[in-house]
Each structure stands twice: as structure tokens, then as C-alpha cells.
């Protein structure tokens, strides 16, 4: 009676111990007394030998984000840069991952060293101006060979797939910032001066043009006025000529009297040719 209960219990427990589920977000390795048996990548119901014969080791299947701390490094032309990078990685081969690393923390420490050294090497082969340039276009800041070098090493040695390595920040060390500020200030000064002298140039041009236009207007008017006066004087001369023609002698006489009226004053003495008829006329 007692034995039959034990058999029933075992009959239920054995299948229960042989069935397990694998989550879609996980990847696993089945080991037997520490030795790997198989890799499980299909999520869902899975079979195994009951413990302690088989053990299931589970790992995260989703991508991990690893931030690489800001690092100061040198470009080929010996300019300092401060870079921050991030790595997206995931466990691709859980068996190799288990053997080589074991857990995510260790993996990230290894990756961090690997990626940092490769970034330093990659940027060390580039000139600062090639890296930071307005005509560089859309290329990623990180030289593509960094990913090309890190990916196979990670995959073969660590069982890790590197999905992406990117520079999250590209800055300058503090001591270099100061010299950049000096340069920025000088450049702003130059631009501001250029704007102001451009303004002055424009203003001078506008004023000079206005002065010239004004002078043209007045000189044209002067010319016109002179023409008008000349014409009037011509007309007047014509009128006088008509009168003269009518009686030249009398005309001259009247003009002479007008002339005396205009030039003589109190106490003047007028000396005339006594043979001239005018003398007699005046006396």
C-alpha cells in the first residue's frame, strides 16, 4: 500500500521534472554534470532528463546596451578627443558564452576593454579634420573597421553578437575647450566687424548716391534757369533793337541820360568833348 503511493508519486514527478519551458526572451544551454549537452533556442515546451542529470542554464536573449565611459584619446594628428560610446550586444551562442564568460556583467567588462581599445586604435588612424568636418556627409563618426574588428572576436571568443557600436558623444577635453573658445570669440569678432563695416559701406554708398542725385537735380535746374534768363535777355535785346531802329539818335540820347543818371552823384565832375552835340544838349 505504501509502495503504490510512492510509485504514483514518482510517475507524476518524473514527467514534471522532464518538462520545462523556455521564454521567448531567453536562450538556454542544457548541461549534464557541468558538461554541455545542447543549446536551446526555440521558445516553448522543452524536454530534458530530470535533475541532477540535466541542468538548464538560461541567458537573456534580448540585446543589452553597454555604455562605454567617456575616454580621452588621440587622433592621428595628435589632437585630443573625449568620446563616449555604446555597444548593443546579445548572446548568440549560449554555449560559448557560458564557457567563456558566464554572465552579462563579466561579458560587459570584457567587451568594454575590447571596444575601448579598438575605438582608440580606429580614431588614432584618422585625422581630426577628417573626423569632424562639415563636408563629411552622413558617415558615422566611428570608423567602420571598429565594428568589423570587434564583431568576429566577440562572436568567436565570447559567443556574443555585436549589433552596433556607436559614438554617443564626441567632445573635447576641458583644456582644449578654452582654446576653442578663444578661436570662437575671435571668429565671432571678425564676423561682427564684417557686418558693421558692410553696413557702413552700404550707408556711405547710399549717401553718396543721394548726394550725387541731389547735385544732378540742382545743376540741371541751374542750367535751365540760365537758359530761361538768356532767352529773356535775348528777347529784351530784340525789343530794344526795335526801338533803336525807329530813331537811333534819340535812342542813344535817352540811353546816355539814363547812363548819367546811373553813374553820377553829388560833387562829381563830368568832362565832355565840347565838339560833341551831347555837351550842348546837357548844358
Amino acid at each position: 500500500m505504501k509502495w503504490s503511493w510512492l510509485i504514483v508519486a514518482l510517475g507524476l514527478a518524473l514527467p514534471a521534472a522532464s518538462i520545462y519551458t523556455l521564454d521567448a526572451r531567453e536562450i538556454a544551454v542544457v548541461t549534464s554534470f557541468g558538461a554541455p549537452v545542447k543549446t536551446v533556442t526555440e521558445p516553448g515546451l522543452q524536454l530534458r532528463a530530470p535533475w541532477p542529470i540535466h541542468t538548464v542554464q538560461r541567458f537573456e536573449r534580448r540585446a543589452h546596451l553597454l555604455n562605454i565611459e567617456p575616454t580621452e584619446l588621440l587622433t592621428r594628428d595628435k589632437k585630443n578627443l573625449v568620446v563616449e560610446a555604446f555597444v548593443l550586444w546579445r548572446v548568440a551562442d549560449p554555449l560559448r558564452f557560458l564557457e567563456a564568460v558566464g554572465d552579462a556583467e563579466t561579458a560587459e567588462a570584457r567587451l568594454s576593454d575590447l571596444v575601448t581599445s579598438r575605438i582608440a586604435a580606429g580614431l588614432g588612424q584618422q585625422d581630426f579634420d577628417a573626423l569632424i568636418s562639415a563636408d563629411r556627409g552622413y558617415a558615422p563618426l566611428l570608423p567602420p573597421q571598429v565594428l568589423a574588428e570587434v564583431a568576429p572576436i566577440s562572436s568567436e571568443r565570447l559567443g556574443i553578437e555585436i549589433q552596433d557600436i556607436r559614438l554617443g558623444h564626441l567632445g573635447l577635453p576641458l583644456q582644449n575647450e578654452q582654446s576653442i573658445y578663444e578661436r570662437m570669440r575671435a571668429e565671432r569678432k571678425r564676423i561682427a566687424n564684417a557686418y558693421r563695416s558692410e553696413g557702413e559701406e552700404q550707408a556711405i554708398t547710399i549717401r553718396a548716391r543721394a548726394d550725387r542725385e541731389a547735385a544732378e537735380l540742382t545743376s540741371a535746374a541751374e542750367r535751365q534757369a540760365a537758359n530761361i534768363l538768356a532767352k529773356a535777355e535775348g528777347q529784351a535785346a530784340g525789343i530794344y533793337a526795335g526801338a533803336y531802329a525807329a530813331d537811333p539818335q534819340f535812342y542813344r540820347y535817352l540811353r546816355t541820360l539814363d547812363g548819367y543818371r546811373a553813374i553820377l552823384g553829388e560833387g562829381d565832375t563830368l568832362v565832355l568833348d565840347s565838339r560833341d552835340g551831347l555837351f550842348e544838349e546837357l548844358r
Partner: protein
Amino acid sequence: MSGLLQRLSVGLALLVGVAALADGVMFVDSGEAVVVYRFGAIARTATSGLQLRAPWPLESDERIAIGEARRVETGERRLVTGDTNLVDLDLVVQYAVSDPVAYVLGATDPEAVVIQTVKASAAEVLSTMEVDFLMTTGRSELQSRLRERAQASLDARKIGVTLADVDVRELSPPPPVVDAFNDVSSARGDRETLALSADAYASTVIPDARGEAAQMVEVARGDASRIVSGAQGDVARFSALKAAHDASPGSVKAQLRAELWADLGEDIDVIGAAPGTEVYLPTE
């Protein structure tokens, strides 16, 4: 005794059945998606409404808000522009889950991936743009390039998110050089002001000259008509005198002479002298 045990076990079975059924009923809010796992594998996804699934441990579910925009900030960062200037940039990013399955399977921390991707894209895009353009009209171009580039990167990572908006909350020169940048914009203003004041000068000088010119012409016209009418007057007087003189020459001349002396006064000597004679002028 056995009756009680039987009733208890039936009751327990009923309770378990009801609990299992209740576990399998899902009320999914609008704006939510539900991912159903069967023995850990993704079996299906469902959207809003009343949904059913097999009870645990056969199936389980995970709810994901897909409608709402999730908001993250990069914080202010000092970045290098393409012409090696430094600028401070602060971004606000709004994103939404566009593919629930990719979202749950893609990354352990999708939000961190979004932030880092946007930061990296910002560093990349800024390193291709010049500070003058950024500080004047380039802000919206920065924004659209940034969004485009970050979205392309996120798409490649397959984490099931779409960027709704990348907003440049701050884009400014670093504090140590702010005054220099401000001076440039005030210089730009000065340029306008100088040109405007010159325009103002021109718009008074030219009309003034035009007025002066018109005045000169009018004055000349006045003088001209005075000259002509003066001549006409003189000639009219001459004609009148001539008529009188023709009639009686002696009396007209006498009258004219008298008028002349009356105008000049008597204190004028008129001396007649033949050419070649000496004339002694009165001394004072």
C-alpha cells in the same frame, strides 16, 4: 465524513476552474497591445477589447502601451560642430511602440537604446553642420536630419519603436562665448540700422534738392518775365518820348534835361573841353 471530503474536493475543483477562467479573461485598454505567450513562446498578439487566453501556466500575457507617446530627454550636452565650434544641445524625444513583438524581444532596455541612439545621431549630425547655420536658420534642418538619422538607426536595431518627435529644446553657444555670439547678432542689426539711416538721409536730401531745383527754375522764370516786361516798359516809354520829341524836339529834351538835373542835384560840374586841351578840376 467521506461525504464532507467529497463536497470539499468538488468545491475546490470548482474554485480552481473559476480562477483559471478568470485568469484567461483579458480586458485590453485602447492604446494597449497584449502579447500572449504559450509556454513562454509568443503565440499571438491582440489589441483592445475583451480577449481570452488559456489559463496560466499554459498561457500568460504582457501588456504594452502602444498609443501613448513616451518622452525622454538627453540633457544638455556640449558637442562639436563640423567647423570645430562647440554648442550646447538639449533634446526632447517622443517615441511610441510601433511593433509590440519587436519591442518585447528587441532589447532589455528599449528606452536606453532610444536615448543613446538619439545622442549618437546628434553627435553625428552636428559634426556635419556649421555653427553659423545652426545659430541662424539651421535649427529645423538639424531637427529633421536628426530625426531621420535616429529613426534609420532604430529601424536597423529592430526594437519596435518609432520616433514621433525629436525636439531641439536648446541649441546655444556655450556660456563663455555667448556674448560674442550676441555681438554678432547685434552687428547684424547695426548693419540694417546703418543702411536704414542712410536711406532716411537719401529720402530727405533728394526731395530737398528737387524743391531747390524747382525754386531756381521758378525764380529764373520770374526774372525772365521781369527782364522782358522791363524792356517792353522801356520801349513803351521810348515810343511815347519819341512821339513827343518828333513833334517838338527842343521842349522834350529840355524837359528830360531838367528831370536829369532834378534827379542828380545841382552839385555836378559839366565841363566841355576840346581834345588836347588841359582841364583844371576844382580842388577841395
